[in-house]
Symmetry: C2
Subunit: 349 residues, 2 copies
């Protein structure tokens, strides 16, 4: 079982994509030194996101690649890749800079779009994970059938992705078992902490035999954040797992270098409701804008919208639902202090 | 199953016991209005703690009692009571002010000390919970035998108390099952979030049939905090439980009135290690003082000390262990920004 560190990638949302090359290189070096073998870096939305209007990162993709390449000796670095935002030529560039793994992210309903990307990366000999964003939106049975598609395309790993942080440990086990019934492909789990379950979901995944789990230092990540690396490591150690990562170095790294970037104290009601309702935070700006326009409670809007769609955002439908909710003047500015960075799930690709 | 709100009591550590009567009354009213039936208030350490040097609260015990009494119509309010810090006459006073429940906290190894306190409270007809602090320090089998003692004394409820936040869902089930084999007494669970498991531990407890779980708004509480009420409620709702508490009111209450008191962003390495090592945060000031004196890493000191004792603090033993650890100048001031309020586990009673 491997822990994949995604502090620099998923955590980049929390800092509005402002990690520098220098910081990326330094963190890669320290993470490798502590024992990590898989380190994800770059723009949160992945290849080419800066050029496509999904938030401009402070460095180009290539600058991030060079920073990681120049600072790692043994560990593999990887980047995210959403077909349609990323282009096939981004994989050429990444290969030139000795990328170790690429994670191809598609909505769980759009797995077919990964075909050329997986093929190209595999032609270069790069390790490929197929990350099924919003995995919870299909049943475990349907999920396992999709896995066979990615396997046919050549993926090395498929990821159960709890984008909204609303899955339970028993769900993870169901998806895992459903896949294992029909495939031996390596399986990963990427969790979020909206319902406070990122650690227990990760532990459940590991207990049942999953090959990869993602975590980030201090839990830094989008929305409610990811499973906290420091806690995951020490929980595993307490359970008797032998993980060749130095927990003291990791505690220091999280405390000294990452804690300052944690954006909020306490729990955001919007994050909690997103976990409850399987709502992807990428659409939060739409929710807040429409709530303001109709003077309604965004909490209610999230709950009602996800009853009809947990995958896409249709603004016309959103407004129809908003129009039917009762107005509440107090709610309009209530959540304005929360920043939701990243809206890549929107838009045509 | 009942959720007992402990925001005002366990959360009082996070504000150095500064909740006012006015705030206590207002919160009681709002919690009752949202549907809570059990609301714990007062000094974090319980009756008489202000007079015994465990941190002076901004109000007297009686002022807290009056605030709750005057603002509740149906819900029961309760307070904490550690025999030796609390006196028997504190129960007389509480009864005069119509307290609904008292939680008698003793170390799991000192259950006998609760006898007169339970008896007195029961003579007044007050609901009594016996809270076994540091429950993890004895085996489930031993624990269930202790439960019979509290039952004989007259307790209505016994609590599994994960003081260090280091228990796993499977542990909660073991303790619960061990008790249920020999007793029908009502069982409660009080968790902390040091290993990020407070929600999953609470859900595991509820799944198996526990009668009470504690939570606090925004997770406000000692050390890493408690299970977050808002998240617990919505996780239960998602799992299909019918809990007669208004989640929208609770989300608002946590966000509007409590979030501002959350003391820290991110995760404290000291909290994480406490969960890992079953270390009670009450002794953290000793750890930090001795670490400074010997110029050693408090993380290592916690790990080594808990190998010999997870219940008490023996400063002589602590220094003997400290002397054997390697010095590290960087560590001395590293964790100085963390405040550990409450040291009631120390001292003779």
């Amino acid at each position: 079982m491997k822990i994949l560190d995604t502090t620099l990638r998923d955590g980049s949302y929390a800092v509005n994509f402002s990690f520098t090359s220098e910081f990326t290189g330094l963190m890669c070096k320290k993470l490798e030194n502590a024992g990590f073998e898989y380190i994800e870096i770059g723009h949160g939305v992945g290849f080419n996101a800066s050029n496509r209007g999904y938030g401009k990162a402070i460095q180009t993709d290539e600058e991030y690649m060079i920073a990681a390449e120049n600072n790692l000796k043994k560990a593999k670095y990887g980047m995210f890749c959403i077909p349609g935002i990323a282009r096939l030529e981004d994989i050429d560039l990444a290969s030139k800079h000795n990328i170790g793994f690429i994670r191809i992210g598609t909505d769980v309903t759009r797995v077919e779009e990964s075909k050329q990307f997986i093929k190209k990366a595999k032609d270069y000999g790069i390790t490929v994970a197929a990350n099924y964003m919003k995995s919870y939106a299909v049943s475990p049975e349907k999920f396992s059938k999709l896995v066979q598609i990615s396997e046919k395309f050549g993926a090395d790993i498929v990821y159960i992705v709890d984008s909204a942080g609303g899955m339970f440990p028993e769900d993870i086990k169901k998806y895992y078992n459903s896949i294992r019934k029909i495939s031996d492909i390596q399986i990963g789990f990427h969790g979020h902490d909206n319902l406070g379950l990122s650690i227990s979901n990760s532990l459940a995944a590991i207990d049942i035999g999953i090959e990869f789990v993602d975590s980030s230092l201090q839990g830094l990540g989008r929305s409610s954040g990811n499973a906290c690396t420091e806690i995951l490591l020490l929980a595993l150690k307490k359970k008797g797992f032998q993980i060749p990562i130095d927990y003291q170095k990791i505690l220091d790294l999280g405390y000294d270098d990452i804690q300052k970037f944690v954006p909020e104290k306490g729990k955001s009601p919007l994050d909690i409701i997103s976990g409850f309702a399987n709502f992807h935070s990428s659409y939060m700006p739409d929710i807040l804008a429409v709530s303001e326009k109709f003077k309604i409670n965004p909490i209610e809007l999230i709950i009602e919208y996800t009853k009809i769609d947990q995958i896409n955002m249709n603004k016309k439908n959103l407004e129809i639902i908003a129009f039917q909710l009762k107005t509440n003047d107090n709610m309009i500015t209530k959540y304005k202090n929360y920043q939701y960075i990243g809206n890549e799930q929107n838009g045509k690709r």
